[in-house]
């Protein structure tokens, strides 16, 4: 039994009277301490899958087990980081990091100390008193990461956290994410093949409409990986596979943006 076990997850919903199947019979298992990247084009249900694991949306059928027990509704043990940093604009950076500790009932002095340390580890020790609108996009996303990490979640869920970040900053943040998530169980979603290959212990490639697992690639070596010929070859191979798979679909190219 794996640490996080998704069994035959399906998700159907109605839009304008049309039944949409977002996910179909998707099974996936993640070991404790594993960094798994879900890779797939838009519309393959990656985000829906994370929302289901986070408990923000119910699955139509199937089961999610964490540590052998079915998940209930949302909770801090399955924290989700969104594409947008979603910092609370009325709280300073430090208060944002302390938010989860506050709702968990920690004392002010204690949560302030923890939040400060967490910001320090992100290189944001000086930014604690600033409001989100005074921070750059990259800083905001690091605050969001710190805010999730101080809760020490059993599974950290990340929904394309770097999609809106520029390329230079992205590789920097990729290093930071891997460094700060050492030993943590992570489910990370991206549509960038390269990002998946750089970050993951294991890449799970999803196909769209309805979303299901196409293939899994176990990568060796410590992540984040420096660029190499082997990675480039793998990248091309995955891309070709996806394009061929998608050529039967209506919009093959739109479905898979380049990075």
């Amino acid at each position: 039994m794996s640490f996080l076990q998704l069994t035959q997850i399906s998700k159907r919903y109605l839009t304008n009277g049309n039944a949409i199947v977002a996910l179909h019979d998707l099974s996936l298992s993640v070991e404790r301490g594993e960094f798994v990247v879900l890779l797939g084009p838009s519309g393959c249900g990656k985000t829906t899958l994370l929302q289901i694991v986070a408990g923000l949306e119910p699955a139509s059928s199937g089961e999610v087990l964490l540590g052998g027990r079915p998940i209930s509704r949302w909770g801090a043990e399955r924290t989700l980081i969104f594409q947008r940093p979603n910092l609370f604009p009325w709280l300073t950076a430090e208060e944002n990091v302390a938010f989860g500790l506050r709702v968990a009932g920690l004392e002010v002095s204690q949560r302030r100390r923890i939040a400060r340390q967490a910001l320090g580890r992100m290189g944001l020790a000086e930014a604690g008193h600033l409001y989100p609108h005074e921070l750059s996009g990259g800083m905001q996303q690091r605050v969001a990461l710190a805010r999730a990490l101080v809760l020490d979640p059993q599974v950290l869920l990340m929904d394309e956290p770097l999609a809106a970040v520029d390329a230079l900053l992205r590789s920097h943040l990729q290093r930071e994410i891997r460094a700060s998530c050492a030993g943590k169980t992570v489910l990370f979603v991206t549509h960038s093949i390269r990002e998946a290959l750089i970050l993951a212990d294991r890449v799970v490639v999803l196909s769209p409409q309805p979303g299901h697992v196409r293939r899994e690639i176990v990568l060796d070596g410590a992540a984040p990986r420096p660029p190499s010929l082997e990675l480039a070859r793998l990248e091309e191979e995955i891309e070709r596979g996806l394009v061929i798979a998608d050529s039967t679909q209506a919009q093959p190219h739109l479905a898979f943006p380049q990075t």
């Binding site: 923000l56 949302w74 989700l80 609370f88 604009p89 009325w90 709280l91 938010f99 709702v103 989100p132």
Partner: protein, 271 residues
Amino acid sequence: MYKNRAKRGRSSWRSELRRWLLPLVLAILWEASARLALVEPTLLPPLTQVLSRGWLLVRTGRLLGDLAASAWRVLLGFGLALVVAIPGGIALGLYPPLERATALVVSALRPLAPPAWIPLAILWFGIGDAPAVFIIFIGTCSSLLVGTLAATKAVDSQLVKTSLTLGANRWQAVCHVILPSLVPALLTQVRIGFGLAWMCVIAAEMVAVRRGVGFFMVEARNLFRTEDVLVGMMAIAVVGLGTDRLLLGLEKRLCRWRAGLDPARLYAGQE
């Protein structure tokens, strides 16, 4: 750096002048047209005469007594409306079935102007504070409710979801995310509502009450004391202006976190 500060000093002096220019011009026009008898002085007495009359009424305590009576009704009626409409609006926003169930009643009541309630208020409550408070409550409650409801529905759902995955329960999401999100919109609602409440109280006092600024003005009209009518109007304007400034200051304090739109910066790029 220093040059900048000097520039800012001068421009603030100028903007202060710009602020007072229009009131000053209007005051001079008023005074002149009355003094030169361009208008009948019994219909529009000169400003200085109105001001000195006002000062007399302030000193004898008559005006302040009436103002206090009106202000007390406004605070009571509007306070009651806030207590009902803000939690109510949030509840309607968070619970759509409730909104659907109340939608017809709320939209039917809203276009009923506050004065339309006056006859009923007198029948129910007679003469005194009660009908005035009731009319203020009725006149402000539904628009506050609709404003709060709209603001609640506009709260960023991603922020709410984020709080949930950080371990908040529903109640904590309401207290720690939805309420703070609503603060700017609610302050605007309160500012608009205060103006509305003053309209209601004057309307009510003109028929249903024996004290208050509205009553003072009606009495003055009956005695053909135009200065007193104008003193009453100016008193309302001054109190309204004061409250609005106070609330604006509060908004500035409470909403420091907002980036906001800074027109000076917006246009700076076009220089």
